[in-house]
Amino acid sequence: MNGVHDMGGMHGMGPVEIEKNEPVFHAEWEGRVLALRLASAFHHKWNGDMHRYARERMPPARYLFATYYECALFALEKLLVEQGLVTAKELETGRAEGKASVEAILGVAGVETLLRNRKRVRLDDNVAPKFKAGERVVARNIHPAGHTRLPRYARGRRGVIDRDYGVFIFPDTNAMSRDKKPQHLYGVRFAARELWGPGVSARDSVYVNLWDDHLEPA
């Protein structure tokens, strides 16, 4: 979706400020949000791409004003209701109207395994690549209303396949319909001038990870 989350190249956001000796969490609730998110995802009612898409659907003015963990909380609440783990009424009142029917929940003993073995999105499927390293490509000029990992700044731009990373889940469909649509993922090199015009260094470049469905031969 052409949302405010797609920030690459925007102006007016202010300086980058690095906080010295930044704590892992700035408030206790931030850690709780992260943990609630991981423990809730344990039920496999949604995938990581659906989580990203939920974040992107935060109303734009709120998104720009929200902290990372406020966005995560918004997405978690949305997914819990949309995927039927809690009802909208339960979320509103804070009172459970019954136990959820789930097979198991994440216990203390399961945390290490969960964090060590987070599901990979690289797949073993035997899918032929559409492009080879060194080949010239153009990122498709598409504007899906749903989730996409093709940033706006790269659309319609010409690049070169830097490398083929192998077969991965395609997030654009995985977020919308759980269709993994296995296909090759590439590192695509775009010259900075191709993206931003003559005002930037001719030496510089931006590497974007894109899938077969994002690309066409140039």
Binding site: H5, M7, G8, G9, G12, M13, G14, P15, V16, E17, E19, F25, H26, W29, R32, V33, L34, A35, L36, L38, A39, R52, L64, F65, T67, Y68, L73, L85, V86, G94, A96, A100, V102, I105, L106, G110, V111, E112, L115, R118, K119, R120, R122, R149, P151, Y153, Y165, F168, G187, A192, W196, S201, R203, D204, S205, V206, Y207, V208, N209, W211
Partner: protein
């Protein structure tokens, strides 16, 4: 909330929560516990893991080993996931790519669409990495960002920006400072910073840090 923020009126109020959010989170946790969906002790364990077991010290060990052990460096550049797994860190199953800085090439990592970050080696991302200014500017004005953070990159050096648009995360392998000849792997790991492994600064030898 502590008062460690010094932000002005820009839109990136990325670390100033709305009042009441802590209460909302508490209410959500109670609800999920009551519904039998989460175990609060598991939540504590997750938080403890992120606060004590993961973080940029892990990445620093990877970088230091690559600096002292050429065979390890080759493995890291060829298959970063496998090379990092040799340390036995909490893995997250991330596919990783190591990006080597040289005297001619500087690498810079960003996630313009969200906040993708190599948790297994750097832990959770800092606020600035997740903030609108960095996500917006790193791809269009990397030299401006680097300059603002303290370094003007000479024209003859190539800047490569890596937008983390996939489940494939990057670790920048910074250049080893020339004055660290003879240092041990442990000593080297101490000077490798998180920000150097994201690529926004170089590794320097702090004054007073001698072997």
């Amino acid at each position: 909330m502590s008062d460690h923020h010094h932000h002005d009126e820009h839109v990136r109020e990325h670390d100033r929560p709305l009042s009441g959010v802590a209460l909302r989170v508490k209410a959500l946790e109670s609800l999920l516990v009551e519904k039998g969906l989460v175990d609060p002790k598991a939540l504590d364990e997750i938080i403890d893991t992120f606060e004590t077991k993961v973080g940029p010290r892990n990445g620093a060990r990877v970088v230091a080993r690559a600096w002292v052990d050429p065979a390890y460096k080759q493995r890291l550049l060829a298959d970063a996931r496998a090379a990092i797994a040799e340390f036995g860190f909490f893995g997250y199953g991330e596919d990783m790519v190591a990006l080597e800085n040289t005297s001619k090439v500087r690498n810079l990592v960003v996630c313009t669409l969200c906040s993708c970050y190599p948790w297994s080696v750097l832990g959770l991302p800092p606020v600035w990495y997740k903030s609108a200014p960095y996500r917006a500017r790193a791809v269009i004005d990397p030299r401006g960002v680097l300059k603002e953070l303290g370094e003007e990159v000479p024209d003859d050096i190539e800047v490569r920006v890596w937008d983390s648009t996939a489940e494939l995360r990057y670790l920048v392998l910074p250049e080893r400072p020339a004055e660290t000849q003879g240092w041990s792997e442990e000593q080297l790991a101490e000077i490798v910073t998180r920000d150097a492994m994201i690529g926004v600064v170089q590794v320097t030898v702090p004054t007073g840090s001698r072997r």
